[in-house]
Amino acid sequence: MKTATEQFKIIELKESVFEDNNRVADKLRERLKTEKTFLLNLMASPGAGKTTLLVCTIEKLKSELRIGVMEADIDSSVDARKIADTGVRAIQLHTGGMCHLDAGMTEQGLNEFGSGELDLVVLENVGNLVCPAEFDTGSVKSAMILSVPEGDDKPLKYPLMFSVVDALVISKIDCLPYFDFSVEAVRERAKKLNPDIEIFEVSAKTGEGIDEWVKWLKKNVCDWNLID
């Protein structure tokens, strides 16, 4: 505690705790713009099907775009190996216990790919719905996956995540008959938090809805990279 014997010079300011990270993130976006690389930050809870959706997405786009994937995990390389099997470049980022990636770590990952060699880089963030929402990674767009088995109440429980993402992918919709999951309720709750959010309903297993999601992603990549 402050005591009467100590003298303080008081400096008043108003600076976001995330200011330093935000600065690095903005610089990273500028660099990505120059290098014509689109970075997607993909977030979801563990088991929502991030890697499976990614593999499916890569298969659709790898003939048209040069793709790289950064797998962020606390400490393993299971996911990176699965991605590498698709033939695109994959690297594993270990966050060393941290539950999210920040812009600095993302930049280090991008450096490993070398500059300007990829059209699309997907950052598969650490699996959780709280922490990654708070840190700008420097990505151009962000998307989250919500799988049917997780429940339709998630927008109520993790409002920040739903309000910061550009796209919401509802995955495993082939499971809808077995769960009390209302797609309408999710749509309504998510739109309330984030009126501009794009919502996709997909199943990586049956392929349903994948094309719409891939189309959205491709359009965003082309817009950012100024490709016709």
Binding site: F8, K9, V17, E19, C131, E134, L160, K192
Partner: protein, 119 residues
């Protein structure tokens, strides 16, 4: 868990401010933490000494001020406190019972003051 990341970010910012102000040591750091920020103040306090060790913040007090989550109803334009107006976990305007809103305050995690120890 992500509070450690927040603590490290506070310290990083404080370190820069300390250099800018020629301060070898800080006495305290005041942060505002919004109710809707997802940051738990208690965890910040507990992790603070660990993060501060060996930095200009070592021994400094972390003062946390909570900022209430105030939103504006998009239907009637009136403002209300979101936590006091949850119906089945979803916020509802106490004036017009509509559900769409824009967040005015409560998301911030800001450093608002640092106290530099005078030599």
């Amino acid at each position: 868990m992500h509070e450690m990341g927040v603590v490290l970010n506070i310290i990083k910012t404080a370190e820069r401010l300390a250099v800018e102000n020629n301060a070898p040591k800080l006495g305290y750091v005041t942060v505002q933490v919004g109710e809707l920020s997802g940051v738990v103040p208690g965890y910040l306090s507990n992790l603070w000494p660990m993060g501060a060790e060996g930095t200009v913040c070592e021994g400094a007090e972390l003062i946390i001020e909570t900022v209430r989550g105030i939103v504006r109803c998009l239907s009637c334009e009136k403002e209300y406190h979101i936590m006091d107006n949850l119906v089945k976990d979803a916020p509802v305007c106490p004036h017009c019972q509509r559900e769409r809103f824009a967040v005015l305050t409560g998301r911030e995690v800001m450093i608002t003051e640092i106290g530099v120890l005078e030599q």
